[in-house]
Symmetry: C2
Subunit: 334 residues, 2 copies
Amino acid sequence: MKKKLTIKGIAEMAGVSSATVSKVLNNTGRYSEETKQTILDLVKEHDYRPNAVAKSLRTRKSKTIGAIVPDITNEFFSRIVLAIENYCGELGYSVFICNSNESEEKELQYFKELELKGVDGLIYLSASDELFQMKTQRIPIVCIDRMPKFHNVAIITSDNFQGGMLAAERLIEKGCKNLLLVRDYRDGFPTIERVRGFEHVLRKHGLEFGEERTIKVEVGITQAKSAVDHYLQTYHKENALKFDGIFATTDWLAFGAKQALEGYGVNIPEQVKIIGYDNISLAQYTSLSSINQDKESLGKLAAERLIQMIEQETDVPSQMLTLPVELVERDSTR
Amino acid sequence: MKKKLTIKGIAEMAGVSSATVSKVLNNTGRYSEETKQTILDLVKEHDYRPNAVAKSLRTRKSKTIGAIVPDITNEFFSRIVLAIENYCGELGYSVFICNSNESEEKELQYFKELELKGVDGLIYLSASDELFQMKTQRIPIVCIDRMPKFHNVAIITSDNFQGGMLAAERLIEKGCKNLLLVRDYRDGFPTIERVRGFEHVLRKHGLEFGEERTIKVEVGITQAKSAVDHYLQTYHKENALKFDGIFATTDWLAFGAKQALEGYGVNIPEQVKIIGYDNISLAQYTSLSSINQDKESLGKLAAERLIQMIEQETDVPSQMLTLPVELVERDSTR
DNA sequence: GTGAAAGCGCTAACAG
DNA sequence: CTGTTAGCGCTTTCAC
């Protein structure tokens, strides 16, 4: 087991000091073209690569960021994460991915852990609105789809209000008169906006509805089944088809609703039309119309913004960027 | 912006040297109960936490591992990754997640990058069999579902041969006479085993089939559609239903096959029965029978094994652990 | 029981 | 243009 090659080793071989090697490796300071070549050759020959930990300790930069995600198992999130990782990878950043499972406690714990491990920045994804109040927040943060109450974070979100509007408009356009809203039981910021947009259009058309037209169900892959059950129950109680259109704030929810309806022999889209949200492949492959969020851009923009903040070292004012959404029509509303 | 608190700061406050503080923080060396208390109180009061980078540089341990994954967007992988992360989190390890996109080049690149960032170990997940030959492999590695050709790595895999057998047995048991195999176009280790198991049972029952009964299609979420198309084409050419049972080496493939059949008005399971592989939620929600792999155990065991290897610092011989699989029956074979 | 000192591998002044 | 020096924050002998 030969000894690990360090910058000093290269320096000795090249007959210069480690400082000089450091300079050519970082394109900083000055050095002659000649020594540069000698060093570069040596580096290549021995496949020397500088120890990132030492560098990190010295420079207080780790080329590492953290991403805190509610559930990587959910395609909506994993696609955002993938986009983040791809963009970061190109720029030499690595990313720690942490599953918070929506728990604030875990988020905080991860935050501390990541800070210690020296991440240069953090991306928070979450449907939840609440966000810890870090007094000593020294690293840049960008949030996706959440609206923290403190400053010095950038925010990337997609136009949830618009998404809700699009859904309502299409349903009404297709002749639906009695709409049903299937939503997450929690009131995360994105959900609230979607619902607001949806209701806004309903009102514009003189349609109104109260709680009894809104079903709040569990959300998440593991709970999708219970969503269906809950839905079935409610439907059963009503004992008659009281609606002809459904807007679900998630594709999984839409899928649950669809299965429940099919279980009762209801025809889609003839009797009931359905629109989901996120446009994950589940929607694509089960022919569910859905509001598409540009997951790739969401991730890429967040990473781009974060790295900007990291590398400029300048306190940018809290900014917000909103991406457009679009309706992807499939069989469930045709 | 107050100065960051270091071990020296605590030492000064406590009126001792940094060495002593280090000792109590790491339960190492000796110190009096009294100084221990003073220090611990100070630590708590100021919420001091030692800088992980410095510690890492000094000790050559980072409490960090890397996980190289083909595609985190694929639920099969993301669930394994989640299990890894959960287990590691409990033990204070963080994990870098890297998407290789099945590219060997990227794998190698990530490998080097991670090594530099000082990860203590690595987990490789992949359907691909080929694995780079690292001469200078200094950190422990565990592989999930791949069989590298060099030593000093632990291997966790699930019983793919058995999975193939289970599928064939059930299909035959249900009265299928002409089986079709839909498989990945690449010959990754897990696929090969599944096919071997499947064919083994066929032979036992005097059923034989050649290439014309085997469709090789693309795989992966983004290519699922093209799998369907490819399949449709082939089916179309045959111009008649030449089979009554399908075994697909992936749930996505099974789903593609199902959609193709439905597009042609073929009844499932009356005319054709289908069994997929992996048992991801897609299978669950589209009522596809599937061979279940215990994704949570796969991830947990891999992480457990890796951390053992890391902390024991002893060269364990190359080991292999095979997990059992089971058939989950749903409508597609009932 | 405790501290002084050395040093992990690298970079950033500052001299020369 | 290049080298010396002085750490980054922590752990670890080895003296006392």
